[in-house]
């Protein structure tokens, strides 16, 4: 059995999907969290660690001492190792399709997070998220779930009838938006149900309920 260490800041951010994968697989790992000084947004430990990371960035996954960078790469690697990425090459591609789409949504929401100087601009971004971005991505996800039902997959999971990286990506990508816009899934029962399914999953429930509360 490999020895895993995940190095990231003490935030959910780009580290949380890999953490959810470890939970869903029931695999032990060292969850190394670099503490941030919330008032200044700086991390002293990162200053010394940065040059030792392959791309001078986090997260980094260490597997028996070998390092891997890039959050999406780490997520796909772990999902493959843990059998959480579908059972055929095509299914794997479908899982990745959803995970990559969720990363597009994350990037849109990040624009709101990173706009710290111009409140008017920030409000415009928030409006754009509510009126254009969330509806677009919600429609994509609901369409997949509807097509699944038509094709005999009424499991409520996005690919292949069981939990995969796709489900964890969808769940986690909506965590932050629901914090700032709590009503966005109100008229979307399939996606609300999906969220409840993940939060009630045997291997995930405790972790999600008790994980540290962080701003992102």
């Amino acid at each position: 059995m490999s020895v895993y260490k995940l190095i990231y800041f003490d935030l959910r951010g780009r580290g949380e999907i890999p953490r959810l994968l470890f939970q869903a697989a029931g695999v032990k790992y060292e969850d190394k969290r670099l503490k941030l000084d919330i008032s200044t947004g700086t991390c002293t430990e990162w200053k010394t660690l940065k040059s030792r990371m392959p791309q001078n960035a986090l997260p980094v996954l260490e597997v028996d001492g070998k390092q891997l960078s890039q959050s999406l790469t780490i997520a796909r690697y772990l999902a493959k190792e843990f059998g959480l990425i579908g059972t055929t090459n095509w299914q794997q591609a479908q899982v990745e399709q959803i995970a990559d789409t969720m990363d597009d949504l994350r990037a849109e929401v990040a624009k709101w997070i990173y706009e710290t100087e111009d409140q008017k601009k920030k409000d415009e971004i928030a409006l754009h998220l509510r009126t254009e971005i969330y509806p677009k991505f919600i429609r994509i996800l609901e369409t997949i779930l509807e097509e699944n039902k038509e094709n005999g997959n009424a499991s409520g999971y996005f690919v292949g009838g069981d939990l995969t990286l796709a489900d964890l990506s969808v769940y986690e990508t909506f965590t932050f938006p629901l914090g700032i816009h709590p009503d966005i899934l109100n008229n979307h029962p399939d996606l609300q149900e999906h969220r409840e399914r993940i939060e009630g999953h045997t291997l995930l429930a405790d972790y999600i309920k008790n994980r540290p509360e962080r701003p992102v």
Binding site: L72, N89, A93, Q94, E96, Q97
Partner: protein, 204 residues
Amino acid sequence: MMPCYKFYYFDARGRGELCRYALHAKQRDFEDIRLGGDKWQNFKPSTPFGQMPVLDVDGKKLAQSGAIARYLARELDLAGKNCWEQAACDQYMELADDMFTELVKSFFEKDEAKKAEVMKNLNDVVLPKFLALFESSLNRNGGCYFVGDGLTIADLAVYSAFDTPLKRCPTLLDSFPKLKAQRAKIEGLPKLGEYIKNRKPTDI
């Protein structure tokens, strides 16, 4: 029975060229369908997410350029020999995509004053950072390929990422001999080399 591939994208390199490279590198036949204007609008409703590129495999459609590239890499044996090598390839694809995202920002910046600032940052900070990371990665792996001892999707992804920067600055790789040599090697591959030599130039 080999599946029938149809690849749909705009008539540009953008997020489609890597998939085209993978198919040409393995001399695999495919329909290289380029859509724009009305043809794109008519095709749009039948795409999974209203976007391109889309790969049609015997009638089944796949979206998201990264998912398509990785799927083709696995099917065409360009993905490394095991799970770890696949992840290593993936890592470089993601890094190349990070660089592409920065380039897109500069390309689409309309404000003249802001554009000058963005371009300066691109040339002085962003590109040097990625150039150094890629060159040192090649060096760490023996100098020829990013992963293992043969061509993978990682090499093609980095090649593709530098297509547009090199158009703007043809001497960009002069201080990065491993990257430069790898580029020449890729351009020497049979079907892929022909495709690169004869394709119509596009801005992005």
